[in-house]
Symmetry: C3
Subunit: 352 residues, 3 copies
């Protein structure tokens, strides 16, 4: 008998700047994945709920919310990039391209932009990647950079430190054209009357009223994305070395609070959106565990036209997620998520 190595993702010393991973599997968006992921997030945008509305707006069928597109692409990169990650540090310049619809197959690849050992802890370091997802026609649906803290597998192995420049991936949100004859106004009752572009002002702050507890269902949700990172699902591993892992318990995969914050904000700022354009930067500022109730707030920082689309305007917002932690008799608000988010929102003048 001979023991064979088994698949377990890469450790810090295995990454090389300039290396490209064509991620395995790919993922077809079934109605099963769509329904569970879209609905758990509390998104209210009817593009993802009501096929009659989606078709009236020029889509072929139900449209994946931005959080689902992000999760489908991100999770494909986990096995190669972050299965042995300790913490996801930052999302950078995440831009959306062609919308993703039920039935689409998404495949992803990542370019290693940088590798750096920690100067203080010799068991870890930072990997910087640029990840791009494409649909079955080869068209880009999402591209972004991220930085992730990754464990070393062998403390004595040399780390291939270095940096390479990012690729210039030209992509921006592609939407069906505005066509006055489509009868948008007949469906205007399906969205809120007060969330058109004209309703927002710089400085507006929305404390979204709904919260949602994350239960152990996070294990199933994460598995549905083929996200193999063990800190989300391997209870035994955590129990052996609780000190090694944040919080000493299964940590909820970051894509879940990411998506949930987008969903909780949806009725107030994205109910009349046609899509998210770009996330300039984003980060998880504290971990989430089963039992936590997640809340979100949005702040409008800018309002601007969208080139070539007089029917739409852009909301520049900051989306924050938080939970509460007990501190003796007090409840302490803990920020868990920060995202600079640009949303393409319908103008009342054209749609209602």
């Amino acid at each position: 008998m001979s023991r064979r190595p088994t698949k377990h993702g890469n450790f810090l010393e295995e990454f090389r700047p300039g290396e490209v991973f064509r991620h395995r599997r790919g993922k077809t968006l079934t109605e099963g994945l769509f329904a569970i992921f879209t609905d758990f997030s509390f998104t209210t945008n009817p593009l993802s709920k009501n096929v009659r509305y989606a078709r009236a707006y020029g889509f072929d069928g139900l449209v994946a919310p931005p959080g689902l597109v992000m999760n489908m692409v991100f999770s494909q990169s986990v096995e190669d990039v972050s299965e042995n990650g300790r913490a996801n540090l930052e999302y950078i310049d995440m831009r959306f391209g062609v919308p993703v619809q039920v039935g689409d197959t998404i495949e992803a690849e990542s370019l290693v932009l940088g590798v750096k050992a920690s100067s203080r802890e010799r068991d870890r370091g930072v990997v910087h990647v640029q990840t791009t997802g494409r649909n079955q026609d080869g068209r880009i649906v999402l591209t972004y950079q991220r930085k992730v803290q990754v464990w070393k597998g062998d403390l004595d192995a040399p780390v291939h430190e270095g940096e390479v420049p990012a690729r210039d991936v030209a992509v921006s949100l592609e939407l069906p054209p505005y066509e006055p004859g489509r009868g948008y106004r007949e469906l205007a009752h399906l969205t809120s009357a007060d969330t058109y572009y004209e309703d927002f002002h710089v400085g507006d702050v929305f404390e979204h009223s709904r919260g949602r507890v994350v239960t152990t269902d996070h294990v199933m949700l994460t598995g549905m994305l083929d996200n193999t990172s063990q800190v989300h699902c391997n209870q035994w591993m955590i129990d052996q070395q609780p000190d090694r892992f944040l919080g000493g318990q299964l940590i909820v995969y970051g894509g879940i609070p990411f998506y949930l914050c987008l969903g909780l904000s949806s009725p107030d700022v994205a109910d009349n959106a046609l899509g998210d354009l770009r996330y300039a930067t984003g980060r998880h500022t504290a971990p989430v565990f089963a039992g936590d109730t997640v809340f979100a707030t949005s702040e409008v920082r800018g309002l601007r036209d969208l080139s070539g689309r007089p029917d739409l305007g852009v909301l520049d917002t900051v989306l924050r997620g938080h939970k509460f932690a007990r501190k003796g008799d007090e409840a302490e608000k803990v920020e868990i998520f920060y995202l600079e988010r640009e949303i393409a929102v319908k103008r009342r003048s054209h749609y209602a």
Copy 2:
């Protein structure tokens, strides 16, 4: 910065008799929602399991069980009507129309029939609505009245008390015609041999043998329906004021035990049904919490012909749900649900 109001449903003082809500979003019945909701309920009717059987009976595809139709329509009304509900009091005259199949899009509206402040507690009152759901062709799939106890938002705000008459919504179950050439008998082994109309007698009582525990999966199931009521999913809110909420913990959304009781009864009384016709009245008599095991019983109160359909007969039944609670060393049976239910059941003479 200016704080903006956020979506949170209506409070008692915001309702006006005669007001009509065209509920937002709508909902397309994907295979994801269908599979999870239908299967969790333990329904055994092959119309919702086996597309070969459903097509042989003249449907285009899998048929949504009555409990799923009820949940799809009801949940759309939550944001406007009962997001701030304390307890759902009664369902009245719930009638089914055109069957709902996978791929259908359902939209709903509610007319406010009555508003009444509580005479004893100044923080709540009762809202009475008539809700109707339609499919993408504008055909009615369900209509019913319900009464719900709703919190006031501002204790000092005046309540717009009053009543308006209900609309006359003419609707009854529409089924594909009986066609002797369809070869129903070749599929007769797919249902129980002893649950045809001829097998029932007035006075029959069925203590359905199966039970099913409700786990924290109720949070996900409720979210999948876009039901935004916070008492089902906002753990933090409950923890802040446990005295204010029934049981001091997350309460399971009533549509779940409603549907589960229908499913648990299915093998004994609805395995050979083609549909439910009407629920004259229904109510939740005690709350359900995660960890409770739900059971059901059915009692046959009447048997009658169905006009124009000699192949079918109507079972007038009472469906009751119960759970058990510990009382010291004893187990106490607690009724949780009561429904007067009329079922259209196949006659053996025509189908087996």
Copy 3:
């Protein structure tokens, strides 16, 4: 009022050797059932993930992994055969036929091969059945024998002991033909580069690196299969007589660790498989409960050609599942599953 008997499955004294059950319901494989069941298992084979890959290999759409085929057929037999089972003892000669794809409807039947009362415990005995599942075209998708320990309903009832010979069910895995023009190599990056037939050697042992905790989601997963066995979902029943049930708590339905072990092994031994051929024997060697983390190992016992398919080779493996149990301060490894498994794996010479 008259109390009517209710559906509850068969007890030992109700089985007769030679009896055939045509199981009720049947089951259409929706995208909902497919997505949840396939993804929870951590399978990595893109035939079940990526419709672009599945079509390139000659399938019409996403292909059900062997564990899903097994679960769909097995669960249909539960109501008749093992709803009152105490423990599933053995799977014998499980062979796969036509692949199952999304949209297929599977129906199953079982022949009772043997009935035997326990010589030591008068409340139970063993039932031996041969179960076969067919698709909507009448073609066999799976056939196998199993032995299950079943409770008696009435301790004094006579047991119809005896045996009948098994039917000769001729079935073997049917795969789309190898066609050099299909461009398999262009998709080779979607699977691991080191899991082709040529990469394996007799004696190879893989300790699959990933583990997955089973949460209370097992109740929902089991319900989605229409598996009505009460030991998986009726918490109240267990609480009344904890001594009667293995472990004194809800026991996870065996199909879940069965499927999960297949999935956990997938990246190392089945990522480049086109299907599983046969399980000569299999058994659950210890129960699994919510909270257990499941792991798996594979051992290669033989390598051989597959008749008529020079593009494929057969891996004869043993798949074992295990979990860990605390014993004071020590962790004890507990084997939970054993399966002799034959896998049809692509040859690098033909595909990469």
